[in-house]
Amino acid sequence: MSARATRRATGEPLWLRALLMVIGLGFLLLFLGVPLLAVFVEAFAAGWPAYRDALSDGETRSAIALTVLIALVVLPFNVVFGVAAAWAIAKFDFRGKSLLITLIDLPFAVSPVVVGLVFLLLFGAQGLFGPWLAAHEIKVVFALPAMILVTLFITCPFIARELIPLMQVQGKDEEEAALSLGAGAWQMFFRVTLPNIKWGLLYGVILANARAMGEFGAVSVVSGHIRGETNTLPLHVEILYNEYNAVGAFAAASVLALLALVTLAAKTIVEWRMRHETQRLTASDLPPEKG
């Protein structure tokens, strides 16, 4: 929190601040803390050995591996697309720019289940490309390719959305300076642009990763739910729960929750670094404020 915000907050009466804090923290505790705790309580309901057995189950382990694999394939694509799109939008003016921005936001607006269904309509047996794919023995839906494709679709806005405002604020002066001093295009990118955006980029990657690992709806439609093969962790949780295997379901859910906690910690660190960076930037760019 910057010095200015702190000063403004102290202007409010004490009871109001206390009330706001109680409401805010109470809400968080009730709607985030308690469910998170419940996941772990249920997971350990039958004791530690049952928890260990549930997690060492081959199908659970392959669900974890598949979830990680999908995220690892999807994220590099997202980085390339996100940086390219943000670059184009922030540093150039061109026709159809607002259209591109709208398109980037599309995955936020469309329900994940609909995304899955759209991919079925395209690549399913009764879909547009289905017969051609079947004739050439290419498996897309109910296999890894479609699961990667829908995850890519769902997660593609995160990095671009994070970078666009950052790059717009930074402008293109530094890049122009680098070029005029004789830097090549890649040299400029790796020496000037990337260091400027690295924390924003990392933040975007963390968000995209959290979404990729947690995605349920779209992946569920195109997965086929083959045990040990096309079941991601969120799908596996649902199936175990439906089979009256509560310990298994919550043990798998606890892995997801742990991933979320790690993400949260990483996000906090990156946010802190980012604020540092922007403060440094604004402090050097703007004249000092008068109190």
Partner: protein
């Protein structure tokens, strides 16, 4: 770029781990696409069949399982999920595949017993001590009794519950279609909510403690007991209920393409073998084998049942009459 190389190696490593842990796709194997609570049955059945096939055909065979909601599963098969066999909990789901030309239209006659290797029935699950003294379907329409059931329009359990009550009312003295519809209407009025599925209905009843009676498959009562404890509820067998069948079928289009017809046929045939039937009984599903049913009599009390074919002329008639848009359920629900 050592970083990039390391990353690619890492991705490759994870991919290898995934393939190693997961099943080795294709090759000499079957994919069995099934409904969600069938997992325990096939988890035990698949090793039995694998042993049998090794002994008779001298081949190792790999069987992959897919489990999810029944109707969702057949949709996936129609959209290209390469199921060699489907093992469902409702004929209407297999009918859907027959309509799409993936399964033979006469699939029900290609195996004995309507292609259903085992059966179950709808029972009433009440709270410990049966505080409201619920004994039969006609107790469920009394004022003040709350009935928990999954949505009759779009879940298997819900439809079977609905038809069970309908058939019961129809078979009462002086019963006819109108009195049956009225009876079911009164029962639905006693439902405070419709659960999204069998599992949700159970959670509503057992964990959230809503309702006086839960309508469920006899086979699922055992699963409920496993999670919530046997002493937590009682099973009440009504005087008359519906026989629920679990049809199996070969997906012709897939086995012909993959060349797995013989294997698929053997896999499903073996469900009627003594070992397969005993496995059903051990998983609380009523075996077709009369001798085995007797052996497990304590587990399966005798109950008078009717089939969907006998009372409703089959699922192909029952489904549009009762559950399509504008069917009897919609009519009743608008009254509610």
């Amino acid at each position: 770029m050592p970083m990039l190389q390391k990353f690619i190696l890492f991705v490759a490593g994870v991919a290898a781990a995934w393939f190693a842990v997961g099943a080795q796709a294709d090759g000499n194997g079957l994919l069995n696409v099934s409904y969600d609570v069938a997992r325990d049955f096939y988890k035990d059945y698949n090793p039995l069949f694998q042993k049998h096939w090794q002994a008779t055909a001298g081949q190792k065979v790999e069987i992959r399982q897919s489990h999810a909601g029944s109707s969702k599963q057949v949709r996936a098969v129609a959209d290209g999920l390469d199921a060699d066999v489907v093992t469902m909990n409702q004929a209407s789901d297999v009918d859907f595949l027959a309509e799409k030309g993936l399964v033979a239209r006469d699939y029900a006659r290609r195996f004995p017993n309507n292609a259903s290797p085992y059966t179950s029935t709808m029972v009433l699950i009440v709270r410990k001590g049966n505080p409201k003294a619920l004994k039969d379907w006609n107790d469920l329409i009394k004022p003040g009794v709350q009935v928990i059931l999954p949505h009759p329009k779009n879940t298997g359990n819900g439809r079977y519950s609905y038809l069970a009550a309908w058939g019961y009312a129809l078979r009462q003295p002086g019963g006819n279609e109108r009195s049956a519809q009225e009876f079911v209407g009164r029962l639905l009025k006693n439902a405070p909510l419709f659960a999204a599925g069998g599992r949700d209905a159970t959670t509503t009843f057992m964990q959230r403690r809503i309702g006086d009676v839960l309508l469920s498959f006899e086979s699922e009562a055992e699963l409920i007991a496993r999670e919530f404890g046997k002493g937590e509820f009682e099973i009440v067998y009504p005087s008359l209920s519906i026989l629920t069948e679990f049809p199996v079928a070969i997906v012709d289009k897939v086995v012909d393409k993959k060349g797995t017809r013989k294997l698929a046929q053997a896999y499903l045939d073996y469900l009627w073998s003594p070992a397969g039937q005993e496995n059903a009984a051990e998983n609380y599903l009523r075996p077709r084998d009369a001798a085995l049913l007797k052996k497990y009599a304590s587990q399966f009390p005798p109950i008078r049942t009717f089939t969907v074919d006998e009372v409703f002329g089959g699922w192909s008639k029952a489904f549009p009459t009762h559950f399509k848009d504008g069917g009897t359920f919609d009519q009743l629900y608008q009254l509610k």
